[in-house]
């Protein structure tokens, strides 16, 4: 059946090309749907998916169908099913809470690909046409952390005191995606400033500008010399700009609104993933991974331009660290670089409840060859342990 649909699709594309007399891209004739939680115009998170989708559409020529403002409920399933009914070949959803509804829709349309970013169930759901995807953003966070460490060193010199090496982090929820993000950022910073400590406070919202700004101001008042965040608004960067505190952003540059304090930002570029899915759909020989992880290598994990506020030589140093990550001589979650409860990390101390919480098969191990295997067995981040040096504020 899958083969038949592909033959029909290929014939349709050939007829289309013959009719127009020109090529519009390798995926012309394909219909690809994107389901976004919020309008792209009002959410940096959804905009990131949207921008990558539009860039892929421009290059590959597929018909883009974008549904915005789809809540994490049965409307997601209805939307996905309606897209499939109207001829979409591939449907992608962007929010964690969409996953159960995408799986339900996938069961009804076995010839359509249903892809879901940030989810955890593809490998265990037993639905052939349902896939998860994420990126090794912890590498991007680590690199941004290195840039932050260099800035602290520039500000306070090589003999930086414990007080001067204190940073803050505004988190959304105490969830693995956020925890993995701030831990890798902290480890990047710590690789440059060995005595660095960090305070984290959660806003319990993905987008709450007032709360994010208030939390950032609290962290600054408690002595944080540099801030980063995993939250979607301009709240934390604005608080930093007002206080003159350097800020490392996420999902995109905040240079326009915070010209004096923005350093750099890490982000996921989803365009390579969209292209990969389309390639796998169109090419009989290729198989789409149940859990796809975009990396620095695939162009999925990126840093924005380094601003003039960064320490001199930051770009070159970060490039060097990036190469080490690529060739495997450096690992973000190297067990020699952090401790948990005063002791070196062990399998038991890094993997509590993960099998239950993140749908890993029994017997999965996370520590191997001296480092934690983040986004290895599942695309979505799983590192959710509080390491020494990081204090969670209640």
């Amino acid at each position: 059946m899958k083969q038949l649909s592909r033959i029909l699709l290929a014939s349709g594309m050939l007829l289309g090309l013959a009719a127009t007399g020109c090529s519009k891209g390798k995926a012309a004739g394909l219909k690809v749907g994107l389901i976004l939680l919020h309008p792209a115009a009002s959410s940096t998170y959804d905009k990131n998916f949207y921008d990558g989708f539009k860039a892929a559409q421009k290059r590959l020529g597929f018909k883009a169908v974008i549904k915005e403002n789809i809540p994490e409920g049965d409307l997601c399933q209805t939307t996905a099913e309606e897209m499939a009914e109207q001829g979409c070949n591939i449907i992608i959803a962007d929010s964690f809470g969409h996953e159960d509804y995408m799986i339900a829709a996938a069961k009804k349309y076995p010839n359509t690909y249903f892809c879901h970013a940030t989810g955890t169930q593809a490998a265990t759901a037993g639905v052939n046409n349902f896939y998860n995807a994420f990126a090794s953003i912890y590498e991007g966070r680590y690199l941004a952390g290195v840039a932050a460490g260099l800035k602290l060193k520039e500000m306070y010199g090589d003999n930086i005191t414990a007080e001067q090496a204190k940073v803050g982090y505004v988190g959304a929820y105490p969830y693995a995606e956020v925890k993995s993000g701030y831990t890798s950022w902290y480890l990047g910073l710590k690789s440059v400033v060995g005595n660095a400590t960090m305070e984290v406070k959660f806003t319990n919202s993905w987008y709450d500008e007032t709360a994010e700004k208030t939390v950032a101001e609290l962290l600054i008042s408690r002595g944080a010399k540099l801030l980063s965040q995993h939250a979607d608004s301009y709240g934390a960067p604005t608080a930093c700009e007002n206080a003159g505190i350097p800020n490392v952003s996420y999902n995109g540059s905040t240079l326009g609104k915070c010209p004096n304090t923005f350093l750099v930002s890490s982000k996921i570029d989803w365009e390579p993933y969209y292209e990969h899915v389309i390639d796998c759909y169109m090419d009989e020989e290729k198989t789409l991974e149940k859990d796809y992880v975009g990396t620095v290598e695939t162009g999925s994990v990126k840093l924005t331009e380094f601003s003039k506020n960064c320490a001199s030589g930051t770009k070159e140093f970060v490039e060097q660290v990036k190469e080490e990550l690529k060739n495997g001589t450096r690992h973000v979650f190297d067990v020699n670089t952090f401790t948990i409860g005063g002791a070196a990390p062990t399998e038991a101390s890094v993997a509590p409840n993960k099998i239950y919480t993140y749908n890993y098969p029994e017997g999965t191990t996370f520590l191997d060859n001296g480092f934690y295997h983040e986004s290895f067995y599942r695309s979505a981040p799983s590192f959710d342990v509080d390491i020494d040096g990081i204090t969670i504020l209640s």
Binding site: V65, K67, D100
Partner: protein, 377 residues
Amino acid sequence: MKKDRERIIRISRRTNLKWWQKILIKAIFVLVAFLMCGVISSLVSPGSFFDFYEYMFNGTFYNTKIFVNLLWQAGLLFVIAIALTPAFKMKFWNIGAEGQCLMGGLGALIGLKFIAPFVPNIIALCIEFLLAAIFACSWAVIPAIFKAYFNTNETLFTLMMNYIAMGIVAACVVAWSTSGSSVLGVVNNVNHEGWLPFVESFGNSYIFNILIIIGASIVIFLYLGFSQHGYELQVVGGSRNTAKYLGINVKSVIIRTMLLSGLICSVAGFLMVVGASHSINETLVNGRGFTAILVSWLGEFNVPTMAIYSFLVSFVSIGSSNAAAWIGYSSTVSNVLTGLFFLLIISSTFFVNFRVHIKLPKRKKNEETAISSKEGA
């Protein structure tokens, strides 16, 4: 000297409009609204005038499955509108349907999550509905008690209750979420304990939900039009003093009517949780509680008319959203189109109730003479 000025536009109240003339005026405005939607679409995306209508119909009438989805969305809006109507007839401005439905959904979810796995399905469904009713009725009756005994402003009170309900649901989801992500996920996803039975028809399972909504609307139609309670709440709405003189206990009518509103909201919350999402978050009702206020008003508190408006509003909203997705412009444009539709329908009620006289000013006699003499020369 007082200058004698003649008005160009004059408005007078209509008194003798026939029923078919009212329908004709409203139908013309609906058609104008559809036409304007196409025009705006082609302004946003040049050349999309006919595509807009094609995708609008594809998103709503493409096949029976998609049409049943439209009926479900319209039905949900309709049941919330009829929940508001008894209170509105009583001139109790309940704008808290969003929160009342959400609390009903929370009650049903508690039954679904904590009781359904341990009891037979039919008992689970009864308990879920009972909990939904208790939660939604409590949320509705609190402002009613304050209104009845302390004459508080029910508009502000019910509005405030919406936000408290959202906060409670958000807090519950954070507490119950196992991953810490604030996403509850589908509850009882493996064995479907406590779910409304799937009646797979036309490729989806909303038929059962739609039948429940039809049943609830018939009950409300009879209650409002043919019961003593329905008569009493109209009298209270007309004049509280008259109601008192007639021996009607106004306080009791206010509380009883709001309990009824809460009960119907609990049907909506129950169906959204147990019959559709099988989960909850603070956006479960998704603004329908506010849109339903407009539907209730536009339908002039008449159950069949509200059904028509619920259908039309859902058709425009879902259809224009589908057009935006396939033509390629932002969903905010489809929101504008739905808003425009509302605006024009509201405008139509003005022309149903009032007549506009336009009288062009006559040229003065001496001016006319001057002109004619010039022409003669």
